[in-house]
């Protein structure tokens, strides 16, 4: 039985006397109280949340990292996950990329009235599961309901605080020529999995989003490789091309990719060909880019491949003095081209 189904069985939906969420559930009155009591406080139960203050009160030792992100994915359920997993893993991973292990999260919902309680419950259960897997607690939050048409089923915001690993020295300033660019798994899978079920674009595939937490893996790698890890980033929206452009601009170094080394699933590559999308710009989840010192690149890669979901990790390029501030890709055929920022959304082409 899959973990997901187990969790659903362990957390059966309590009996609510309503089937859909209405404006009243965000009013702060009795309906809000009922929804929060059985729907939120019970399921996320922990000492800090149980205090039911206006905010969370806690103590943390060491250097801290703080991050926030909002989740508006459509459709909210997709192969391999839903907006709930995404909201937890996303913020946990943003902290992980700072070298931090997430400890506490805030969780806010903006719900469009009419959302089925069963759908909301499914999201809550996924949040609980993702939080447990990442070892993070939800300690404060908020729920608002907006009129039909003023939202899109459900939006989630999470903010998180994490403790930075004492050996972490992650900053783009440490990147230098000779460093190596590594990606932790297949690229573009999440974006294509979501696109495959979007209205008007449905195509048959067995692809699943690879949404997952990265904190356990990155903490272990930092413990082993310390300051030899120069930079980490999870290339979500905008894909790996956007992240590399950002750091190329910041460091004024050249980032040279090798097209032949990019790990990509055949189905994803095929879908990108068919839809006219460049996988370098397609969104990822549960994936990260690392820039590491050249000397340790092979050891880092071997260590990384030991982690779940990282078996397809690969060295995809290197850092050079020139072309300053640019990302270049050597094509499979031997030529080279600049990889630029994307303008707006990638739009499907005509033919």
């Amino acid at each position: 039985m899959s973990e997901k189904i187990k969790m659903q069985l362990q957390c059966p939906m309590p009996k609510f006397d309503f089937e859909v969420i209405t404006l009243g559930h965000g009013s702060g009155g009795l309906l809000t109280h009922r929804l929060l009591k059985s729907g939120v406080f019970d399921i996320f139960k922990n000492d800090i949340l149980d205090q039911q203050h206006d905010g969370a009160i806690f103590q943390l030792e060491g250097k801290l990292a703080f991050s926030t992100d909002s989740y508006v994915v459509s459709p909210i359920f997709f192969p391999g996950g839903n907006i709930g997993d995404l909201a937890i893993n996303g913020t946990v991973n943003d902290l992980a990329m700072c070298g931090a292990n997430a400890k506490y999260l805030s969780l806010s919902f903006i719900i469009e009235e009419g959302l089925a309680m069963s759908a909301f419950w499914q999201v809550l259960v996924s949040i609980k599961e993702a939080a447990e897997n990442a070892g993070v607690q939800i300690v404060t939050g908020d729920t608002k309901v907006v009129e039909k048409g003023k939202g899109d089923k459900i939006f989630i915001n999470t903010s998180g605080i994490g403790v930075v690993h004492p050996k972490a020295r992650i900053h783009h300033n440490h990147i230098e020529p000779g460093d190596v660019i590594i990606v932790s798994g297949h690229i573009a899978t999440h974006g294509i999995a979501i696109m495959s079920i979007r209205k008007g674009l449905e195509f048959e595939t067995e692809l699943k989003s690879d949404t997952a937490n990265l904190n356990h893996c990155t903490q272990a790698l930092i413990e082993q490789f310390g300051s030899n890890i120069k930079f980490m980033r999870d290339p979500t929206r905008g894909g790996i091309a956007s992240v590399l452009n950002e750091i190329a601009e910041l460091t004024q170094l050249g980032f040279i990719l090798d097209q032949r080394k990019l790990p990509i699933e055949e189905q994803v590559e095929g879908a990108c060909e068919m839809l006219g999308l460049d996988p370098l710009y397609v969104a990822n989840e549960g994936l990260f880019l690392a820039v590491v010192k050249g000397e340790i690149a092979q050891d880092f890669l071997s260590a990384l491949k030991e982690f779940p979901l990282c078996e397809n990790a690969a060295i995809i390029g290197e850092v050079a003095q020139t072309p300053a501030g640019k990302v270049l890709m050597k094509s499979g055929i031997g030529g080279s081209r600049v990889v630029n920022y994307l303008t707006g959304e990638q739009l499907p082409r005509i033919c």
């Binding site: 270049l328 094509s331 030529g335 081209r337 600049v338 630029n340 005509i350 033919c351």
Partner: protein, 366 residues
């Protein structure tokens, strides 16, 4: 990936490069017709690897780029009518009209949907009988059969809330317009593989004959393009001009009969204005009389003032092969994908966008 990897084989490509170098004795200027070919050339870095004496210029085969500003205005006007759902291929959305783009109209509240197939628009019409669904039928001969088929389907289903805004353009008249231009410097053509998969080769024979110009129907992968270039140069070096087919895995001499019959069922050929180039006789498809109820121009009685093209955009010269994107004073400065002066900078198949996005280090230095 099967059917792609073999056409991206570096060893094979190298052999073609060597052969092109070996047989070429003087400079030649070739034009690839299709924007997809342009992008493949630039994206794979082929332009930088070709010998200096082969100059590739980039043709008008980007449907988004050649759609006139007035047609974009028509589409925006339609999208802004009450109870209208305007469906379009994604590519068209960012192209500037005279006042705004479809993307801006969408942001202002117009109901504009991005679809992959016009048949989805027919389905949308069936599901929304209270709405008028209009499909923005853009493209070369490649997309014409599917767009025509959508009209046939809607007719069979008895839908009276479906219509298309046809803006189809045709390759052979455009080639003639380019070859007939007094400034023309094209020695040979790589014809667009997918257009020929529909239409076949026949209509290219008179063009090759009249202008003494080799035409090689070519695919889109690096090895296809290099082989197409080699075949064209071979003809030029030998002083011959005929129509040849490099893209044999997709193109047959007679084309696709079923597709051509569907086009003939719904469309009629007429003059069309090409953005940046002007009116070309008999260069487009419009919905014919028999299916006039499915023609959005008739149905909505569109009367839009013809708008002027942006004079600062030299897209006409680029698509006729007279200039390269870098030779435009506004390239990358006043004109960028985020604020384009013309369509070639925003379309995913536009030559300016190809140079802007992918141009390699050598091209950047030039």
């Amino acid at each position: 990936m099967k059917y792609l990897t073999e056409y991206r084989n570096p060893e094979l490509a190298e052999q073609f490069f060597e052969e092109i170098k070996r047989i070429t004795t003087r400079p030649w200027t070739l034009m690839e017709i299709c924007g997809g070919q342009t992008h493949s050339l630039v994206k794979n870095g082929l332009l930088e690897m070709l010998p200096d004496f082969i100059t590739m210029v980039h043709g008008p085969g980007c449907p988004v780029c050649v759609t006139s500003i007035s047609v974009i205005d028509e589409a925006i006007w339609l999208a802004e009518q009450p109870n209208v759902i305007l469906c379009s291929f994604g590519d068209m959305l960012r192209v500037p009209g005279s006042k705004k783009s479809l993307l801006e109209a969408k942001a202002e509240g117009a109901d504009i949907r991005i679809l992959y197939s016009p048949l989805e628009a027919v389905q949308l019409a069936a599901e929304n009988p209270e709405k008028q669904v209009v499909f923005f039928a853009v493209g070369f001969e490649t997309t014409a059969p599917a767009n025509a088929l959508s009209v046939v389907h809607a007719h069979k289903q008895g839908l009276n809330n479906y219509s298309i805004l046809a803006s189809h353009v045709l390759v052979p008249p455009a080639m003639e317009a380019i070859l007939g231009d007094e400034e023309n410097r094209i020695d040979g053509f790589l014809a667009a593989g997918h257009v020929c998969a529909i239409m076949g080769l026949e209509e290219y024979f008179p063009v090759a004959e009249k202008y003494h110009c080799p035409i090689v129907v070519t695919g889109f992968e690096p090895v296809d393009l290099l082989q197409g270039i080699l075949m064209t140069v071979k003809q030029l070096e030998a002083g011959i001009y005929k129509v040849e087919n490099q893209y044999t895995r997709a193109v047959q001499r007679e084309g696709n009969k079923l597709a051509k019959d569907t086009i003939d069922e719904v469309f009629v050929t007429g003059d069309r204005i090409w953005r940046g180039i002007g009116r070309i006789p008999q260069s487009g498809y419009e919905v014919n009389e028999a299916y006039r109820n499915f023609n959005a121009r008739v149905k909505f009685n569109i009367t839009i003032e013809p708008a002027e093209e942006n004079k600062e955009c030299i897209s006409g010269d680029i698509m006729k092969g007279l200039k390269k994107p870098f030779q435009c004073p506004n390239f990358g400065t006043k004109c960028k994908p985020e604020h384009p002066l013309g369509a070639p900078m925003v379309s995913s198949e536009g030559a300016c966008a190809a140079y802007y996005h992918y141009a390699g280090s050598k091209m950047l230095q030039d």
